[in-house]
């Protein structure tokens, strides 16, 4: 049976033979194991083993893409022919740009600790460690997911590029409940076994859950807020989606300002880094073969760059940032520059307001102006004179992204890697204090 490297080679040769002017084939072999748990018990154990091929073909300025996982050389050859036949009937894309010409020099990542060797038994034991630690700290019920992923990937293009990479990661997030309405979430995610700490995830989740006991209703209004790493990572994922040039062009972005304009507080810097050491989503090349790199999106409050593939770069009269996506560019790893504050100093700086640990369900009224709301969950706390005085429940942030970006105040010096259900792109984030956040609640 052919492997993913041989298959991408086959696809590119076959596409050229059938008249394609541009072709890129991305192949991957992915092995994943997952353990899910709730009420302190394991609910399901999952294992995946998948070989996938994605193809981009350019022909007479038409662009067509496809993903296949019905893998055999015969099927793939047939699919390439079918794709070209169907694609020829498509319409020209006015923004079409040929694939970037290689070869490129890629960085060498000294990153690989292949976690694929971890057995299912290992994962079950790690899950047990997380659950037990949360229970020991006082949690009554513990739920969560533990996942181990290992992927080998290869890209071949008709523009003289053939490049390979691999990655593995080990992640868990734990949600602990002390009461029905008192919960907390903890996380550990790493590309190495050494830095994977399921016991910390369990401990942190239970600590927040205990602090969140007996939550009280709260009043709508504007309050200064310390955002914990989970919620700040979620908000910053939305900022980086808005930084995709495709989304700016589609009207799905509030970052439609001139490059160089002030879009955030002067102390705020956010970058994308496909090369980040320990980045859960690091890869040395993008889907067009352009080397990935560190790209400052907002630097000291100014909009420095959008994220581009070659097509969006042409349209915006700039260069690819190594963030392709054949259709839409996107971030690899989001990294927020740390500030100078210790976490306890942040609370003193806040003095009075709220500390919100987590959120979910962020939705926009208007992507272009940035009006949105998101629901707070897990620990939410009222702060008075720098101290937690109450646990709060049932509130929602109802605000505007450009206003929030310009209202970022103190930022912590510690940062945490976050990736979970509500944070799709791995994010290295500090705590952040943001002024005058709109807080609403149900009227009945």
């Amino acid at each position: 049976m052919m492997n993913h490297e041989e298959l991408v080679d086959l696809v590119v040769e076959e596409a050229i033979r059938n008249g394609a002017e541009d072709v890129a084939a991305l192949g991957s072999l992915q092995k994943t194991r997952m353990v899910r748990f709730y009420n302190n018990k394991i609910s399901v154990i999952k294992a995946w083993r998948n070989l996938g091929i994605s193809i981009m073909i350019g022909l007479k300025e038409r662009k067509f893409v496809s993903s296949y996982n019905e893998i055999s050389p015969e099927k793939l050859i047939g699919s390439v022919k079918e794709l070209i036949k169907l694609g020829e009937k498509s319409k020209p894309n006015y923004d079409y740009v040929p694939l970037p010409k290689g070869p490129f020099k890629y960085i060498t990542r000294d990153h690989k600790e292949d976690l694929a060797y971890l057995s299912g038994k290992d994962l079950v034991e790690y899950a047990e460690i997380a659950i037990e630690r949360a229970l020991k700290e006082g949690a009554k019920r513990v739920a969560g997911t533990l996942i181990c992923n290992s992927e080998d990937i290869a890209l071949k293009t008709s523009a003289n590029i053939f490049v390979k990479d691999n990655a593995s990661s080990l992640e868990t997030f734990v949600r602990a409940f002390v009461e029905k309405e008192s919960s907390g979430q903890g996380i550990s995610c790493s590309t190495t076994l050494k830095n994977f700490k399921p016991e910390i995830a369990g401990l942190e989740a239970a600590k927040i859950a205990k602090m969140a006991k007996n939550p009280k209703a709260f009043q709508s209004g504007r309050y200064s807020v310390i955002f914990g790493p989970f919620i700040f990572a979620n908000l910053m994922n939305n900022v980086m989606e808005a930084a995709s040039a495709f989304n700016v062009d589609a009207g799905l972005s509030f970052l439609n300002n001139e490059i160089g304009g002030n879009v955030a507080s002067p102390n705020f810097t956010i970058v994308d880094d496909g090369t980040a050491k320990n980045g859960l989503n690091s890869r040395v090349f993008d889907d067009e073969g352009t080397p990935t790199k560190k790209t400052v999106v907002i630097g000291q409050g100014k909009l420095k760059n959008l994220l581009h593939n070659t097509s969006t770069a042409k349209k915006f009269k700039t260069s690819s940032t190594g963030n392709a996506g054949w259709i839409s560019p996107s971030a690899w790893n989001i990294i927020i520059e740390n500030g100078a504050y210790k976490e306890n100093e942040l609370f003193k700086e806040l003095k009075n307001g709220l500390y919100i640990t987590n959120n979910w369900y962020t939705r926009f009224q208007d992507y272009r102006n940035g009006d949105f709301s998101t629901v707070c969950r897990d620990g939410i706390f009222e702060i008075k004179n720098g101290e937690i005085i109450n646990s709060i429940k049932n509130i929602r942030i109802s605000d505007n992204f450009p206003r929030i970006l310009k209202s970022i105040g103190a930022i912590s010096n510690n940062r945490y890697w976050i990736r979970w259900w509500e944070v799709a792109t791995p994010t290295l984030t500090p705590y952040a204090l943001v002024k005058d956040i709109g807080i609403t609640k149900s009227v009945f």
Partner: protein, 479 residues
């Protein structure tokens, strides 16, 4: 077309290597999409997804394995991995999972398209999208539409389901959808956006029936009016709200369908999608007015969430979740049914071969009442008609929800007056359902993709309902 023998092989292999129960799902999804952005044919795409999902009960635990490398050696290794992982679960963490009984079925069912989407080339799809684009631009009078995104998608899903109890079910379902995102702009007025989707279990004939050129032209005109004319919501303390079908549909989906999923109720989704404010003992309790009946029905012909057998091989049926204001039943799969000591009602669905089947909605809607739209209106002396929405969300217990209107009107003495900009309904679930005093006859549906599970799975659903009247409300938002 399918490698049915690999499915039989996998079933036998699982049973002979420690599984007490095994089910096999071979699934092929063939999809295509044409995307037009700002008048530019951005991309044509094809997706071919095919593989096997194997679920087992072994050693008191549940295992799921999946692969698209369909040779016997690899499939065997995947099954062994799932079973050996179940074996490693300690007694302390073992849940001793079992399934409720089910009738053994041997069925073939299909939804047959009148016009096969595969007979429609990308040229024809883009020509239609370009005609929609032209109609959109020509419908902008004194405002601009700087951003337009139109997508036509189609998908054909074929499945073979086998389980160790002897069930064998084959199915084939075609679906089509149209998604549009419009951004209207006028200097001094800013922007207004509309995001919506149509979808049905049909072939290309659905695209023709939707009359998309006129439909999107009308949507464009109204978005321009909202941008130019809409005024701030009233500050009055109490008012009545008339909710249009689109808003009623999302309400029923979010605050009835989701909290009635039995896996949420027992906490199985607690870490990600959340739990439910509903507890098992609330069955039979009153949660809404007599006017409220909320239904989830996968068997609605041509619906986007249509199926006749679920992904556990259970025959699909209508579920009356709330009946005349009372909590009537929950959505169950075989795992929760045995725990609740009831019969499963066929709510188990999986997005693709590589996803575990879990409890999902299909087509969730409020059942119709007796009122015509003008009868619902005529009894409102002062209020708001919220016809549709953009922003919405709900907490992870499904208790506190928010819907922000897009096309919304002031109602004075039973008549629609000024357009209102972004009125906010922010309310708890019992308060909302208890305040419904009249339900219309005008049932209609919207398509959506509903997300749940880990890894997250998106399944096609309809959300719907007639217009409903909600009394003595107060608008939400910042004071």
């Amino acid at each position: 077309m399918f490698l049915e023998d690999i499915a039989r092989y996998a079933l036998n292999y699982a049973l002979s290597h420690g599984a007490n129960y095994a089910e096999i799902r071979l699934q092929r999804d063939n999809g295509s999409a044409a995307l037009l952005k700002n008048g530019n044919p951005e991309v044509s795409s094809l997706i071919k997804n095919y593989g096997i999902g194997i679920r087992v009960l072994a050693h008191g635990s549940m295992g799921f394995a999946s692969t698209n490398i369909l040779n016997r050696e690899n499939v065997s290794e995947c099954i062994l991995e799932a079973i050996s992982m179940t074996k490693s679960v300690s007694r302390r963490l073992r849940k001793n999972i079992d399934f409720s009984s089910n009738i053994v079925s041997n069925e073939k069912w299909n939804a047959t398209p009148k016009v096969d989407v595969n007979s429609i080339g990308f040229d024809e799809k883009f020509e239609l999208l370009l005609d929609i684009e032209k109609a959109t631009i020509s419908s902008c009078n004194d405002f601009k539409m700087p951003n337009r995104l139109f997508i036509i998608e189609s998908e054909e899903t074929e499945k073979i389901f086998l389980n160790s109890e002897g069930s064998s079910i084959q199915s084939s379902v075609p679906r089509v959808s149209f998604t549009y995102i419009l951004t209207a702009y006028k200097a001094g007025k800013g922007t207004a956006q509309r995001f919506n989707q149509k979808g049905e279990t049909k072939g290309w004939e659905a695209i023709n029936e939707w009359n998309l050129i006129n439909f999107v032209a009308d949507e464009t005109k109204i978005l321009g009016k909202i941008l130019k004319q809409a005024v701030a919501p009233p500050k009055d303390d109490r008012l009545d709200i008339l909710l249009g079908s689109e808003v009623v549909g999302i309400i029923c989906h979010e605050s009835c369908g989701h909290p009635f999923e039995a896996d949420r109720i027992i906490g199985r989704e607690a870490a990600e999608a959340g739990e439910s404010f509903i507890s098992p003992e609330m069955l039979g309790q009153k949660i809404g007015s007599d006017a409220v009946t909320v239904v989830d029905d996968p068997t609605l012909p041509n619906s986007y969430g249509f199926y006749l057998y679920d992904d556990e091989g259970v025959k699909a049926r209508r579920r009356d979740l709330i009946k005349n204001g009372f909590i009537n039943t929950f959505l169950h799969n075989r795992e929760t049914a045995i725990e609740f000591e009831v019969e499963t009602n066929g709510s188990s669905r999986s997005e693709a071969y590589n996803k575990e089947p879990i409890i999902r909605m299909a087509n969730t809607y409020m059942d119709t009442g007796d009122y015509k739209l003008d009868e619902l209106l005529e009894d409102i002396s002062f209020g708001i008609f919220m016809k549709n929405f953009m922003e919405w969300n709900i907490d992870d217990k499904r208790f506190n929800q928010r819907y922000v209107g897009l096309e919304a009107y002031e109602i004075i003495k039973g008549e629609l007056k000024k357009l209102i900009r972004n009125p906010i309904l922010e309310i708890t679930t019992p308060a909302l359902y208890s305040s419904v005093d009249a339900v219309g006859k005008d049932l209609s549906f919207n398509a959506a993709i509903c997300g749940k599970g880990d890894p997250q799975q998106g399944v096609p659903v309809w959300t719907g309902g007639p217009s409903i009247r909600v009394r003595k409300m107060r608008l939400g938002g910042l004071p």
